[in-house]
Symmetry: C2
Subunit: 204 residues, 2 copies
């Protein structure tokens, strides 16, 4: 299936089509088995031309990985705009993000593998994603403080701690490990969210 791209079209459009084809290949055969030549050939482009838009194979991987984590962030953003208490928001958000990451592992194993690789090779992307998620946590914590639900001295510090306390339910390698060893994450997930909410709650 060839989908020729005229190189005179808008560069953003070319980039988008390169990524579309790359993602399709990654999902079908995995990122390790996809070459830049495969992508170029499907688009009726030369490999050199693909490299004009993405300086290295690594940047293509990074861009696809960013799409995957972006979907996670969008789920999180959507929850911040629901009309519930801050505790309920944080609970729903943590649950949804865990469920999403687990779903990627179980149903989209090749995308999961790409994210795991990114954690080694494209750390900047993962780091930016984590920072964005921490910012979302912080916004919810500030809401909770305003609503007198939470009592927290330093919302930024608390947001980082929430992220750290939830790493076992977010980190692709740790989720994979749990699933491999047949461990049920559900009960632990509820307990951990209760613990996090208690840490944010009012103290004497």
């Amino acid at each position: 299936m060839n989908r020729p791209v005229r190189t005179r079209t808008d560069p953003d459009e070319v980039r988008a089509r390169i990524l579309e084809v790359a993602e399709e290949h990654f999902r079908r055969v995995g990122h390790h088995k996809t070459s830049v030549a495969d992508i170029a050939s499907e688009l009726g482009m030369s490999t050199a031309n693909v490299y004009r838009f993405f300086p290295s194979r690594d940047t293509i991987n990074g861009a696809i990985c960013w799409r995957i984590v972006n979907e996670v962030a969008e789920i999180a953003f959507a929850i911040t705009h629901t009309n519930v208490s801050a505790s309920e928001k944080l609970d729903r958000l943590l649950t949804a993000v865990h469920d999403r990451n687990k779903m990627i592992l179980v149903k989209e194993k090749r995308m999961h593998d790409l994210v795991v690789a990114a954690m080694q090779e494209n750390w900047a992307i993962i780091k930016a994603h984590i920072e964005r998620m921490v910012t979302i946590f912080e916004a919810i914590i500030r809401e909770g403080i305003e609503a007198s639900e939470f009592e927290v001295e330093d919302p930024a510090e608390a947001a980082r701690a929430v992220k750290t306390a939830f790493v076992p339910f977010l980190h692709p390698i740790l989720i994979e490990h749990c699933v491999q060893h047949g461990e049920d994450t559900e009960a632990g997930l509820r307990e951990q969210i209760r613990f996090i909410l208690k840490a944010l709650g009012k103290s004497d």
Copy 2:
């Protein structure tokens, strides 16, 4: 250097000497590069004889790994017997265990690699170690409840949550990742311990 072992000696003693030689090799060349034949040869034993004491190479790895995690547990036990408040105990314990795991990575990389391998191959050993650590956390939490320092409904659940909240500072792969990316773990460690203690503290 040959250290012949008479096979008529106490089986426990033979086992201990096999492990001693294995550990020495593991520390010097790494567990991947140590064969059962190497261990047998240094002890003046046949490989078959080593297998009489350890049914597989995996069980030797497991036993050495158990020694390493045992040292961590001993540090933790020692702290539970100090004469300080429960909060202070938990703080010292979490700090000491993190420091120890980081030290193994930095100064005893080959032992660190063995523990990482065990997390894949000898999960039962790691699981038993984690369960023991959670039991220690639970004992400290119960002490804190009795002393009215902590307010916790279910000490066993809280102990599991403390462990989970501290995974990024305990898990060898995650510690390695931080060190590889030149991230300072110290500030995050203090923040996380504060967060954990707040979660155990009294609420309104």
